[in-house]
Amino acid sequence: MPKKAFKYVIIGDGHAGNSAAKTLREGNRDAEIIIISSKPTHYFDHSLLANFLLDKKDITSLYLYPYTWYKENNIRLRLNQTVTKVIPDKHQLILAHNERIHYDRLLVASGAKPKLPESLSRYKSLLTVFTDAVEALKLRERLGKLKHVTMVGGDCIGLHLAGAMLKLGKSVTFVLNEYNFWPLEYDEAVKDKLIESLKKKHIEVIADDITTEIVKDGTGLNVMTKNGKIIKTDLAFLTSGMVPNIDFLDGSGIDVQTGILVDEYMHTSAQDIWAAGECATVYYPELKDYRQTTGEINAKVLGNISARNMLEEKKVVSLAEPGKITIEGEDFITYGWKGFSIDI
């Protein structure tokens, strides 16, 4: 185990990153540990995000650790700072403000970002995303002016958000397409059960259709579908699932498919770089194959395993036990969202 004043840098302030930081500190009291995050807010529980819209609580009420925890553990947080480049050969990162950061060992735990279907890419500026605390804050400020919202796609975040919107008295339309219900194991039976549940809640569901165009209409939007539907709405949420947030690795030479490819030790193809959480595509020996990981539980576990390997423990990853989530009384199998339930 390295005992010298090693410098561990973690990209990402989510479950994987914080879990890794905690493990690294426990394993090496002398190490320099830095967490870099493009988000301005602290580590928080994403499952609380939709409910955050319903009350007047301060954003800090979402935070899982008080900032004093970082002080006490001598973990340096660099929030609101974006990594733009990783240079493995030099053991360096470049930040958006042009600062070079050296690392001895690097963990990429940059999570995921909303998936923007290619067909909608030109409407990006008209779509609202809802994945972090800042976006929740922005949305909370606008809530009073909203009467109707549209979910473009139907992932779990969208389901969560729809629940909050209904409680706030807003009407909701879902346009379901091939990006439905991420990250559930998708099949027709799942889809039918969910659509039935949504309709029971007086949510308009436009199924087996796809959003093709979004145009401004006064202060609102018109969302148009392939089958000719025009939905007049105040806000269109991009809820078509998530993809690994790894653009900054372009040109780094690190092997990437959907996410960052890591072996059973969570190590990437680059020396002294590990990856964990939703940005990683992990090799599971049980499957003899790679699998994209999702969910907070997975992120915590994988962050911990990565950190232990960064501390040279040689810990092998194992497939998470399948879990169950409940949506409107219906159970669904999942790998990473254990205990998660949506009751809209």
């Binding site: 970082y70 947080l77 660099r78 609101n80 700072q81 403000h97 042009n98 600062e99 070079r100 050296h102």
Partner: protein
Amino acid sequence: MTYEKSVTIEICGSSGDRSLAAGEILIKTLSDIGYHVISFDAYPAEIRGFGKTVAHMRAGREFMLSLSRKVDILISLNDRYSMEQLKSLNDEGVVIFDNRPMETVEENACIAGHLGPGMYLYGIPLYQLSQKTTNESRSRNIVVLGAVSALFNIPKNEFINNLTVKLGKKDKSVDAVVAAFEEGYRYVSENIVKLDPYSFERLSVDRKGYKLMDGNKAVAQGAIDAGCKLYAGYPITPATKIMEVLFTELPKYGGVVVQTEDEISAIGHVTGAGFAGVRAMTATSGPGFCLMTEFIGYNVMSENPVVIVDSQRGGPATGLPTKTEQSDLNHALFGGNGDTPRIVIAPTSVKECYQWTAEAFYLAEKYQMPVIILIDLFLSLSVRNVLLDPLPNYKKSSNKVPAQEDMKLYLRQKITDDGVSPRALPGQENGYQVVSGLEQNEYGTPVYDEHSHTMMTEKRFRKIKAALENDVPPPLRSGTKGKVKLGVISWGSTAGAAADALDSVLKEGRSVAMLKIIVMNPLREKEIQEFLDDCEKVLVPELNYEGQFANWLSMHFQKKFYRYNKVATRPITHDEIEEEIERLLKE
């Protein structure tokens, strides 16, 4: 939280970043929307070259007299210098920095890498936005003001108005500078989500009659309003601005400003004007005050009125030209050879700088002696919004004019009960007199015998006694009445911090009181003794190493004085005194 009471902001950069100009506009704007403000700039002594420059300001809803040690919002125009300021930033403070600098920054050379985990970081591409709007990088200070306006809800119209006033409406660069401001505002509005708790608003308070001014300007205004007609001085930090203001203003009132070749000449001019019956003043700082010392004695001996302002800075010698200190008290009280009674006044606020400068002219003329006004760099340069009370009629001459019958045999140094001799001004019939630094008899003739010297020395000291009895108001007591666990005796600019500290500890229910001394010599011993009798312990905070005021008090009173001395190069803050009060109360 801290911000409920006040918010402390720092704009930090290098000399060329125009941090102070930005600070000046910001504090003016905060004042315009109804906040009480107090500011203090720190800058390097060197006129050329680069060094750290900090515009430090505190704004609050309630009246306040001092700065806070802890900063809430740090605006970095130069990370190299600003990083050091992080030590003063609150655990939940805000940092604004340029996130698109020109060049690659080596690790840890950027302030972003040094924030505590509870701090808020806002990156704004100041350089880029400045280039975009003004084709140069020098407007980063204006871009950041736009950002500050949007981030902290400070009405932008007031900002733009103050920018326009500062630049002059006809300046062609106004449009570009306003564009730079708007760009900073726009960037924040479109790109940044505010997470920190700091926010301002337009306060519905009546600030009619309030003026934004620093101590130097208040001294100059006090001199003008007291009928000063001659100012002579030699430039020196931090007193130069007194002369700058008077250069513009004094001629409007029929006065003259003379920039002399040195400080000896300056006090010489003032001495001559005083002899001629013209109210006159000079202002300097420690090194210049040293040069003037011989003339203090001369004016004591010749019983001539002069007003000398000493704005103290770090010493000895050239010392720390741009850093504040309260270490010239010994010099002001004792400087000079022989027994040299003089009146020493130490205003504690900008408002008092105004009042007591005017009073100094009245006293100097009435008691025919030097009156020294002891301020310091902090008081000289800190800007506050103040409501100046109308002055009593200080313009009216306080000169004791000889009666016509006295002029048959004019005794310039006539022995009187209060020691003040009637003073004939040049041109008065039969008012011949010898003026010199020699000891003299009643006729003004030089004498060296024991009787005359004793008689004249006693006469000169009787004037001090008369001033004490007739014109020195009792020191102001505040806080808990009657017996207290702890008393604070404070003077000069530190008294502001002590007063703010007292407010805080009183709210905590502590048994504390404060005595503010403005006239340092002569001392109102009776009232001070009564205060001391009421106090179990007495704290004397001051910005010098020896505890010069505590020593001065020890010469007059039998009491143990708990000293709180710093040579911190910055003012003592209210929170430092609060901590010391709490420590002594627990001891």
